[in-house]
């Protein structure tokens, strides 16, 4: 960690976005995580994504649980709302926040401990409930904050820093999310912002539950040769199914790729998710095939990355519940108390 704050001075050519803000305006306080932590790269990717989308920082709700990952909301979007909740209970708080104010962009940050161990039940249910949010897991396969015990996502046979092997099979959060019905499922790597930033943008703008499992190496406890979540191992064993580029509705689509390998996914808001398939046969709209693909590669010791599944027309919790269209804080007495006549009608309906 460092305690020297990042100076305010910035590159003289740093561009302004549509709101007149620079990328630096989306940063948070200086990170207190270990130097080289992958989580800081994830925070930097979120900063870049939000700045590029020109989203107003004060319209964000950042929620997290406990752990190194869950500290990171302090390190981005320091002008937004935040709630650092109880261990494994971020989904409950996120659900409440989203139900109360459907107009906020909701980002949940969790870790492999917070989501795959203590919070596994909460995770399953927020996926199932289709809360409209971006759920990011900073997945490093270790309990870094308690000095390097294996976490539930650590691969069997992978070793600790001192060489002891992990005896249990891992929980694969991507497979779980696919199975339970997430409408946007991706996996990426903190060391590859070119892949990660567009995925965060698309996930933020996706209506419904968007899940990104980010492999984010722990330099202090899980970046050694026996680890399957080290910078070196992930770089050597990741198989990207596609690269994604996200374009806002008004944005000119600039990326130009060979036909046949490309697919434009139209989002309901008019934005475009352009997928450039590296594996030509891969279909990102078939959750069953996606699950099989992920698991086959996992069995072969490979990590599939990229946008694995997306349903652009998915519905979210508010649609399912047919809830009120406005944030609860904007409902006044007239909305909440429709008057005696309405009460009489309701009572009459039960007579």
């Amino acid at each position: 960690m460092t305690y020297v704050a990042k100076p305010k001075v910035h590159h003289p050519l740093l561009p302004l976005n549509d709101l007149g803000l620079t990328r630096r305006d989306y940063e948070g306080s200086v990170s207190t995580l270990c130097a080289g932590c992958g989580h800081d790269s994830v925070s930097a990717a979120i900063v870049a994504a939000c700045a590029e989308l020109s989203l107003p920082p004060h319209r964000f709700a950042k929620v997290s649980g406990i752990g190194c990952s869950s500290k990171t909301p302090s390190y981005f979007l320091n002008r937004s709302h935040g709630f650092n909740s109880v261990h494994g209970r971020m989904p409950s708080v996120a659900t409440g926040a989203n139900l109360a104010n459907r107009e906020l962009y909701c980002i949940g940050i969790s870790g492999d401990g917070d989501t795959a161990s203590i919070g596994l039940g909460q995770f399953a249910h927020i996926v199932r409930r289709r809360i409209n949010m971006l759920y990011v897991v900073d997945n490093n396969g270790t309990y870094g904050l308690t000095k390097g015990q294996f976490s539930a996502t650590n691969d069997k046979g992978s070793t600790s820093k001192k060489g002891a092997p992990n005896l249990y099979s891992p929980i694969d959060l991507v497979s779980m999310a696919l199975q339970i019905g997430a409408s946007f499922v991706a996996r990426s790597f903190s060391g590859d912002k070119r892949q990660l930033v567009p995925l965060i943008k698309a996930g933020l703008m996706h209506r419904g539950f968007a899940f990104i499992d980010v492999i984010s190496p722990c330099v202090a406890f899980n970046n050694h040769t026996g680890s399957t979540k080290s910078y070196e191992h992930v770089r050597a064993h990741s198989e990207s199914v596609m690269m994604a580029d996200y374009f806002l509705p008004q944005q000119e689509i600039t990326a130009d790729y060979a036909p046949g390998t490309m697919e434009d996914v139209r989002m309901p808001d008019g934005s475009v998710l352009r997928l450039r398939k590296i594996d030509g046969a891969y279909d990102p709209h078939d959750p069953v095939a996606a699950l099989a693909h992920v698991q086959e590669h996992q069995a072969a010791g490979e990590v599939v990355t990229g946008l694995l599944y997306v349903d652009p027309d998915a519905s979210d919790c508010h649609e399912v519940l047919d809830s009120v269209n406005r944030p609860l804080n904007s409902l006044d007495e007239a909305d909440l108390c429709p008057g005696n006549e309405a009460l009489a009608q309701i009572n009459a309906a039960w007579r």
Binding site: G36, C37, G38, E232
Partner: protein, 617 residues
């Protein structure tokens, strides 16, 4: 909108795949010039003064050491701290990262004003001489600096000067309200007291006769003593109302001229013109105006000299070439000026066209002509083997400053025409090395001491650096001036009061420590991106290696300043390279703070600029 997240592109995306041959080579940081160039101020300084190092010493209140570090490089810190042309300041990185440069020159003065006894730091001069005699002609900054370099090596140094005191144009042309005589005397005396054989009031009339005296080497530092004149209709008739600027200033400096009356026009746009107009104002002129042929922006005078003159209420009138002197019965009535306007030519240079306005007549009683000066050595016979070119400048080897007579060297303004004091010091160091090599019977080119660089880690602990790494966003501090009423009535009263210790300490904090370098060790890097994420200036990128033109475009922030180098690493694990754009790095050290493997380290680069003293190291 591009938001600088382009670092980390994959090779497959690049149209440059296959252009292997054009890839950039890893930077050789052991080349003394590489990091020297990053220290923009030091690189721009002709004498290569280690600016950030002395500014740090000032922060530590070690004024004497700061002074001596300057004295080593530029010989006249107190004088230069007031009068330098400051090539370092426009070069300062702050100009690129924010706006105004660090007040380097004024900090130099802080060191000089607050220094203690420097006696113990001065080089010792051997009592037993080495048997070689060197003649220095002219007692200006160039000759004095040569003397300083040669004396510790046992040379017998003879200084010949036509005036009664040393200092050359620093004494004769720089007015006392910019450079107090005590400051000048002190720094001249330091050198004379090292054992120079002074021959003052001794005008050398013949170089041939000098050569016959059999010195082992001669150094000519007689400056550019001839002020230019202007041949215009009426010039001859009003001769007694026209003075050549530098001659007039000299006559003021030596007390021969003590007043000037009536309306004065100063013609010219350089620092001499600024000194003339401010001096004239102090000597009692009824009114003073500066009239310049060219546009305000291209005037040769330093920005601050113009500001000071205007601050004293002197108008500067531009785009007015003179046409004729108007006179009546031998009395100057005034000058007629043409009106022109500057037009940008296709080559980017300004041309002047008639503006269409009618000619202007300006009344005046006296004209000070400050339109330039030139070399003038009529006392050097042209048949004694010292060649001159068509501009009447000596033909010199630029590296050794040797003339076509192997025993004769030139430096300062007499070498390549008018420059300033800092160039004189730089020439002097070169010439002293050459004279030493000549006297030792060595090769003047091959046997020169080499340049070098040392890199020293500044890491003191987990998050401790031996320099103040934090970026200070303060704006440039203003220097206090003497009360205008008082200073305008006393020609000896120094106008700029200089920073006091406190202001000096504050301004010193603005220095970005550009000599504390970001040094990258590729084999340690795990490509975690921590440095990329933390860098406040978006200087660092990890990308595939391509040719420089394309590489400059694909970094986190485009590297559009072609004068600043890219620092390129060897190939890393992923096949990419680290590329750092040196342009706007603020040397905050956060890359090194954030690096988990110490692949980045902050190391001070100490550049060794050859001086005769290098032989003693």
């Amino acid at each position: 909108m591009e938001f600088f997240v382009r670092g980390g592109e994959f090779l497959a995306d690049s149209p440059a795949v296959g252009r292997v041959a054009a890839r950039m080579k890893p930077t050789n940081i052991l080349d003394p010039n590489y990091f020297h160039k990053v220290v923009d101020c030091q690189w721009a300084c002709p004498a290569h003064t280690p600016v950030p190092e002395y500014i740090r010493l000032i922060s530590q209140e070690r004024y004497t050491e700061a002074y001596m570090l300057n004295w080593d490089s530029n010989v006249f810190p107190g004088i230069l701290g007031r009068t330098c042309d400051r090539p370092c300041e426009p070069a300062c990185r702050r100009v690129r990262t924010e706006e105004k440069p660090v007040a380097i020159c004024r900090l130099k003065r802080v060191a000089a004003d607050n220094k203690g006894d420097i006696g113990a730091y001065l080089p010792r001069v051997p009592e037993k001489k080495n048997g070689k005699r060197v003649a220095l002609l002219g007692a200006g900054p160039a000759s004095l600096a040569v003397a300083r370099d040669l004396l510790p090596f046992g040379y017998e140094v003879h200084l010949f000067e036509k005036e009664s005191a040393g200092g050359g144009f620093m004494r004769s042309q720089i007015p006392a309200f910019r450079l107090p005589v005590e400051v000048l005397d002190e720094e001249v005396e330091i050198i004379l007291n090292m054992g120079v054989e002074c021959h003052f009031d001794h005008e050398v009339a013949s170089m041939k006769a000098m050569l016959d005296e059999g010195f082992d080497a001669y150094f000519i530092g007689t400056g550019a003593p001839r002020g230019r004149d202007l041949e215009l209709p009426g010039r001859q008739e009003v001769d007694q109302h026209i003075s050549i600027g530098i001659d007039w200033l000299s006559s003021v400096a030596f007390g021969h001229t003590t007043e000037i009356t009536g309306k004065v026009i100063v013609m010219g746009g350089g620092n001499t013109a600024m000194d003339c107009c401010r001096t004239a104002q102090r000597l009692g002129a009824e009114s003073v105006s500066v009239v310049v042929r060219s546009a305000f922006e291209v005037m040769k005078a330093s920005e601050w000299e113009k500001e000071d003159a205007m601050g004293e209420g002197i108008p500067i009138i531009n785009n007015r070439p003179p046409k004729e002197f108007v006179h009546e019965n031998g009395r100057l009535k005034g000058i007629v000026f043409e009106c022109v306007k500057p037009v940008q030519g296709s080559d980017g240079r300004l041309r002047y066209e008639p503006s269409g306005e009618p000619d202007v007549f300006m009344e005046c009683d006296h004209v000070l002509m400050a339109i330039g000066q030139e070399n003038h050595c009529p006392w050097i016979e042209r048949d004694i083997g010292i060649e001159f070119d068509k501009w009447d400048c000596p033909v010199l080897d630029e590296q050794t400053l040797q003339s076509s007579n192997p025993k004769v060297f030139f430096g300062g303004d007499s070498a390549f025409g008018p420059e300033n004091i800092i160039w004189a010091s730089a020439h002097a160091h070169k010439a002293a090395i050459s004279i030493h090599l000549l006297c030792q019977g060595k090769d003047l080119r091959k046997d020169r001491p080499p340049e070098g660089v040392n890199l020293i880690s500044q890491k003191m602990g987990m998050h401790e650096w031996s320099y103040d790494s934090e970026h200070d966003p303060s704006k440039r501090y203003l220097v206090p001036h003497a009360d205008k009423k008082l200073s305008l009535s006393n020609i000896k009263m120094e106008v700029e009061l200089g920073f006091d210790r406190e202001l000096g300490a504050q301004e010193a904090q603005r220095c970005l420590n550009c000599d504390v370098q970001t040094v990258f060790t590729d084999r340690l890097c795990i490509e975690c991106d921590a440095c990329v994420d933390i860098c406040p200036m978006d200087c660092i990128s990890f990308t595939e290696n391509v040719d420089e033109t394309e590489l400059r475009q694909r970094l986190m922030a485009p590297a559009s300043n072609l004068e600043q180098d890219l620092y390129v690493s060897d190939e890393l694990g992923t096949g990419r390279v680290m590329v750092k754009d040196e342009d706007v790095c603020v040397h905050c050290g956060l890359c090194a703070e954030r690096c988990p493997t110490n692949a980045w380290d902050m190391q001070k680069s100490v550049v060794h600029i050859p001086q005769l003293g290098s032989y003693a190291e």
